[in-house]
């Protein structure tokens, strides 16, 4: 065997190649529910191979510092990741993503503060990666703060876009000075990073909580790109490949999410609709009355139904009612009732989040259908049970042009023979819009806390 195959440098390159293969296979497997579970194991194995191999990188020093940092960072993240409630997953993704962006910016900072050894093209890539990474870092932290409820207000003022543009221009000027080798002093490098961090803050602060998932997905893609750029600087193929794959996959995923939420990306970033619905008011009066019903009657109705469709919303998860809902469904399934779950793309906090919450409760994914699959089935359903969902079943989105949610795709729950809505009180939904569904002739209201109401339904079905 030739010598070069045995050298440490060659072994590291080979292990990075293996890592790139495992990452791509892992992501591929994660894109189908049947193989998703094994996908993360593949990707995890890839990460382990690359990390271990890097310890043998030629010319490395500071081993104690590296080990301490890996252990501390890893331990904190592991504990927080295992403990976080499933309802809070979106903000944890934002947090971990911000850390990745920060790390990419830190690599750029180490290289740029050292100065002098890089070619202009390397310096340019380091600057771009550092800028993107820093924006992703501070932006993701704001996204985390908003979803966690630490930041409640959306800061907006006139000329905000102009200010953001000026900050970006300032960062680009600093970056250009460094990259062109005109002035790569520590002061200019510091200016670049300070302005980039500020840009992340000022870009994210005006965006409302409802749009945060799209923003997090965008920052995820940006962090991927930043990692790829720093990979170019370090000549590290694993970083280039993994970063670029995430960059392009993340961009596509961002577009898919924005489409699922009926928003365009430009709209999310620059219009700040996210949480303004409340001020946009009603949009057409609703006629009819709310008709209450007892849990016992609903229990009978469901027990003797052929087909029941459950429409869960984030309210169900907040009330922690998903376990009870699944218990109810199991009772119905045992009686021979066909049960399906209808998930609107924006149910939960980000597309797919409700599926995770239902999966946590034990609901098999093949009972869960998304909007396109299930909408034609409502006509054949005897009961549609709405729990914690509101705007996504509001028929005004179909026919009332004056309504702020006009044009949003909705679940056709109103087409079911009977509609039962579990609701805490008589208020309007998240967007503050009256729900015409609640006033239909075939709709009945079951008032109460989500968990308690479903517990009553379970008792009622058992009593039949």
């Amino acid at each position: 065997m030739p010598d070069y195959l045995l050298s440490a440098a060659a072994l590291i390159q080979v292990s990075y190649l293996v890592t790139a293969f495992l990452f791509i296979m892992g992501l591929k497997r994660m894109s189908s529910p049947v193989t998703a579970r094994s996908g993360i194991l593949w990707a995890g194995a890839g990460m382990l191979v690359a990390t271990l191999a890097t310890f043998f990188y030629p010319g490395m020093t500071n081993y104690p510092l590296i080990v301490i940092a890996v252990v501390i960072g890893g331990a904190i993240a592991w504990i927080s990741g295992r403990r976080v409630a499933m309802t809070n997953i979106p903000q944890m993704i934002a947090l971990y993503n911000g850390m990745g962006g920060g790390a990419a910016a830190a690599i750029a900072a180490v290289e740029l503060y050292r100065g002098g050894q890089m070619s202009n093209s390397e310096a340019t890539l380091a600057v771009i990666g550092g800028l993107i990474g820093a924006v992703s870092f501070s932006g993701s932290l704001i996204a985390f703060g908003k979803l966690q409820g630490l930041i409640r207000k959306s800061l907006r003022f006139r000329g905000q876009q102009l200010l953001n543009l000026l900050i970006l221009a300032g960062a680009i000027v600093c970056g250009a000075l460094i990259a062109a080798g005109i002035n790569d002093s520590a002061a200019v490098v510091t200016g670049l990073f300070a302005l980039s961090l500020l840009l992340g803050l000022s870009m994210t602060l005006p965006i409302g909580g409802a749009d945060m998932p799209v923003v997090i997905s965008l920052y995820n893609a940006l962090t991927g790109l930043a990692v790829a750029f720093e990979g170019f600087v370090l000549g590290n193929a694993a970083m280039i490949i993994a970063g670029t794959v995430v960059g392009s996959a993340g961009t596509l995923l961002t577009q898919l999410m924005a489409r699922a939420m009926n928003r365009s990306l430009g709209n999310v970033l620059f219009s700040g609709f996210g949480d303004t619905g409340g001020t946009a008011a009603s949009g057409g009066a609703v006629s009819g009355s709310l008709k209450p019903i007892d849990a016992a009657d609903v229990g009978v109705m469901m027990a003797f139904a052929q087909k029941v469709i459950i429409v869960p919303g984030y309210g169900m998860a907040v009330a922690q009612a998903q376990h009870k809902v699944w218990e109810l469904c199991q009772l119905l399934i045992d009686r021979g009732v066909t049960v399906r779950f209808a998930i609107h793309p924006v149910a939960g906090r980000m597309p797919g989040h409700m599926n995770v919450l239902l999966a946590e409760a034990g609901v098999p994914y093949d009972l869960i259908a998304d909007l396109d699959e299930i909408n034609s089935e409502f006509e054949t359903a005897d009961v549609a049970l709405i729990i914690g969902a509101n705007d996504v079943v509001n028929p005004v989105a179909r026919n009332d042009k004056s309504s702020p949610i006009y044009g949003m795709p909705i679940l056709n729950a109103d087409k079911a023979k009977n509609v039962v809505v579990i609701k805490r009180g008589q208020g309007a939904g998240f967007s503050g819009i009256e729900n015409a569904l609640f006033y239909l002739d075939n709709t009945r209201m079951l008032y109460g806390d989500g968990q308690a109401a479903v517990a009553q339904l379970i008792a009622a079905v058992k009593a039949v």
Partner: protein, 102 residues
């Protein structure tokens, strides 16, 4: 690595990322975002190299923070993705698991 080879890698990786995700169902959007979030945790490798080559106290400090953050990205991303995906089971798999338990 020469510049043009790096560009080829960049282009092919971009297409790969796009193709891998193109047909993903909405139910997997959240886990997949979390999974790709984990994958860019590979930045850990670069942060280790950066800290490994740092000499001045400033470089060491920034490098240390970089490795700390990168390890958080990789480990945290893995922990939450694995937890989420562990829960995705079909009714067949669930019935089988229940039968084995009895």
């Amino acid at each position: 690595m020469t510049g043009i080879v790096a560009l080829y890698i960049f282009m092919l990786a971009a297409f790969t990322g796009y193709e891998v995700i193109a047909k993903v169902p909405v139910i997997l959007h959240t886990p997949l975002m979390s999974g790709s979030n984990f994958v860019h945790g590979i930045v850990l490798v670069g942060a280790m190299v950066a800290l490994g080559s740092a000499s001045s106290p400033l470089e060491k400090t920034i490098g240390f923070i970089g490795v700390l953050l990168a390890a958080g990205n990789a480990v945290g991303g893995y922990a939450v993705t694995e937890r989420m995906l562990e829960m995705f089971k079909s009714s067949g798999a669930r019935a089988g698991a229940a039968a084995r338990k009895h």
